[in-house]
């Protein structure tokens, strides 16, 4: 695997859209060619090299390419956009759309990530060591096909609307999560190790939410369904089980109605 290191040298006055920072776009290119990749500051087209110092050549394919993003990129959007393979390490906080529409490969964000990270993710892995913004692993506006595969781990807190319209894959938040978790989901799993605010699993058709901490207000559509012993992420514990959203439609599998599941650690 070849490593390309890009370091922010000229911060944008506004925000930078750098959807070319991905192993797919870098693959097969020398440092010089990578520096020519297009980026946009508002409506002004520019090149990656104008904002970043690029060192190292990429591998022949995305899978053979690792990118390390250094410097203050808190005003850089779309890092890891549509990535399918390879590795991407973001040393500091990045803005919106990190790993949006990603299908494969691995992103490690050492700082925070902004809203819309891993939008409509299909595969791969996103690890955020800081906090994640709103709409983590959610569907694009209007689309009923949300995150369908892959894994997201947030070591800090997550914002609102994580996993909206989720179909598959897994989201783990070690910290707390803001309102609305897995709204409209039809599959997949979200684990929140800290506290959840409210409005969990609203309009959920199918899927699983597991909460280790407190829930400020439960959705009325989640009906108590006894207690269960579960092993979650290596932790064995007793959980209160709820099924829902009882107000929403549900599918039948072999004649039995399948509900969404919410487990809260007792």
């Amino acid at each position: 695997m070849e490593t390309v290191t890009i370091t922010l040298k000229n911060a944008p006055a506004l925000y930078l859209e750098a959807d070319t920072i991905s192993p797919d776009a870098f693959a097969g290119k020398t440092a010089a060619k990578i520096a020519e990749l297009p980026v946009f500051e508002g409506n002004v087209p520019s090149t990656l090299g104008k904002y970043f110092e690029v060192s190292g050549d990429a591998g022949a394919t995305a899978a053979d390419t690792k990118i390390i993003v250094k410097g203050d990129v808190k005003k850089v959007k779309y890092i890891g956009f549509k990535m399918t393979a390879g590795e991407l390490v973001i040393e500091k906080t990045a803005d919106q759309y990190v790993g949006a529409w990603m299908k494969g490969g691995k992103i490690l964000a050492r700082g925070d990530v902004g809203a819309f990270a891993a939008t409509a993710m299909k595969g791969g892995e996103l690890v955020v060591e800081g906090n994640a913004g709103n709409y983590l692993g959610a569907a694009y506006r209007g689309d009923w096909r949300g995150m369908s595969g892959g894994k997201i781990l947030v070591k800090g807190n997550a914002g609102s609307d994580i996993g909206m319209y989720m179909l598959g894959g897994e989201i783990v938040v070690n910290g707390n999560a803001d309102v609305h978790v897995m709204t409209h989901a039809e599959g997949g799993k979200t684990i929140i190790k800290g506290n959840a605010a409210s409005k969990l699993g609203g309009q959920m058709v199918d899927g699983t939410i597991i909460i280790f901490g407190s829930i400020e207000v439960m959705m009325p559509g989640f009906k108590p369904n006894g207690e269960v012993e579960l092993e979650v992420d290596g932790t064995k514990a007793k959980f209160a089980h709820f099924i829902g959203d009882m107000g929403e439609r549900h599918k039948k599998k072999k004649g039995v109605v399948v509900y969404g599941n919410l487990y809260k650690k007792i």
Binding site: G42, V44, G142, H184
Partner: protein, 438 residues
């Protein structure tokens, strides 16, 4: 001698009353009396005649004072600003006609700008919800002719849409609703016992910010499933009663307003209210409709949509249209520091945005096109007064139920004043020169 102009459209709210009558002087220059309009609409018509009205563009000087300039100079400032900006915003459009909106869209396209309307602060979250689960709706005449269940959720038409209840929703006697108010049951959901709530058969005094939970509870109640004893401050029994009342009607409608679009859960509140409506269509006929505020905010969304494909918060900076509120929405863009020029027309963000989103406007090149003095004109570098839409110039507008109505011109604007459309055409043409496009 005076003359009376009939079938005048009121350019205040999304109710878009089109039965207003105006008495004007014989020379067509003075508006003397207004009939049929509500108190706000009347004020809107009459204020257009204010003696202290600003009639020429003004540019703020370094010492803070205004200097009167010509329209051509105002065009030059606007075009230069838009030509130079990396990420300009063209905001507003809700108090102007579709003709002007259309020219505005050309300007946005040429300058590769962001463009957005006042849905940003009223029903943008409704549009997000509609994109998520649709919208079973109808025209207001359907409500008048058929509806026997009227729900006002998080809206207060007695104050915000004063003639709504008399023209369409509560009092009129329609084809199948010959007994008017007596044919209808009225439910109001609001954290306050508002003047609208006081008229209702049932008032659910929901705990503020818990509408999403209450709507979910209604859906559970329709299905006869288990409910907690109290949801959102409302006892389960009362929720079940309201659910039964909704199901037992022949034709029902939910009107909703900013009580739900602006409270916690925002788009999700509307999403759930639409789900409630969809559920009710398994039992009876039900519709839902946003109580749109500005008289032509709906039209702005329509024009954006057929020209760019999205109803608000459109970002053209990359040369093609993109949309994602949270990223491309005006207030987020302002607060995040993403914009470098602001062109406001047909709205007043200065008064209606949170102060943290107004401060950036004061610190960037900015134009405010508005017949009034407003907080926006107060913080902008250039104020361009224009003729009053719907009073001094006609043009097409869309009512809250998307029905288009062509506004009428009632009186002449003061001499030498341009309309929105005329000013925008000049800006567009100058911008084309600056950008070197045909």
């Amino acid at each position: 001698m005076t003359k009376t102009v009939t079938d005048v459209i009121c350019p205040f709210c999304g109710t878009l009353c089109d039965d207003v009558e105006c008495v004007v002087s014989d020379d067509g220059k003075q508006l003397l009396e207004v009939y049929n309009a509500c108190v706000i609409g009347t004020e809107k018509f009459l204020h257009s005649q204010a003696k202290d009205r600003v009639t020429r563009p003004r540019l703020r000087q370094d010492d803070g004072s205004w200097k009167e300039i010509s329209y051509d100079e105002a065009v030059e400032y606007s075009a230069q600003m838009l030509a130079k900006a990396k990420k300009p915003m063209l905001f507003g459009w809700s108090s102007t006609n579709c003709e002007a909106q259309s020219v505005g869209n050309e300007i946005a396209e040429i300058s590769k700008a962001c463009c957005d309307n006042t849905a940003a602060t009223c029903h943008g979250t409704t549009l997000i919800a509609v994109q998520d689960i649709g919208l079973p709706s109808c025209t207001l005449g359907e409500v008048k002719n058929r509806a026997d269940r009227i729900i006002f959720w998080g809206c207060n038409p007695a104050h915000a849409h004063p003639r709504h209840m008399s023209r369409y929703s509560i009092f009129p006697r329609g084809f199948f609703t010959g007994k008017g108010q007596m044919s209808r049951k009225m439910i109001v959901v609001d954290p306050r016992p508002t003047d609208t709530a006081k008229m209702a058969d049932v008032h659910l005094q929901v705990e503020q910010g818990r509408d999403y939970e209450l709507l979910d509870a209604l859906r559970v109640a329709f299905k006869g499933e288990w409910l907690p004893d109290v949801v959102a401050g409302v006892p389960a029994e009362k929720i079940r009663e309201a659910a039964d009342m909704m199901k037992s009607g022949r034709f029902g409608i939910i009107f909703f307003g900013m009580g739900v679009t602006q409270s916690l859960s925002k788009n999700h509140n509307i999403d759930a209210a639409i789900a409630v409506t969809k559920d009710l269509n398994e039992y009876t006929k039900f519709s839902i409709m946003p109580m749109r505020g500005h008289y032509n905010v709906t039209g702005s969304g329509e024009v954006f949509a057929w020209q760019f494909g999205f109803p608000f918060s459109v970002d053209l900076t990359r040369g093609f249209a993109r949309y994602n509120p949270g990223d491309t929405s005006t207030i987020d863009l302002l607060i995040r520091g993403e914009l470098d020029a602001m062109f406001t027309i047909g709205s007043d963000p200065g008064a209606h945005f949170p102060i943290s989103a107004v401060k950036p406007i004061a610190n960037m090149p900015s134009v405010c096109v508005d017949p009034h003095l407003t907080p926006t004109s107060g913080v902008s570098k250039l104020h361009v007064p224009v003729a009053f839409n719907g009073v001094e110039v006609g043009g097409n507008c869309y009512r809250m139920d998307n029905v288009p109505i062509d506004c009428r011109k009632v009186v002449e604007p003061p001499e030498g004043m341009l309309t929105d459309e005329q000013f925008l055409i000049k800006v567009r043409d100058r911008l084309k020169q600056l950008k070197g496009v045909a």
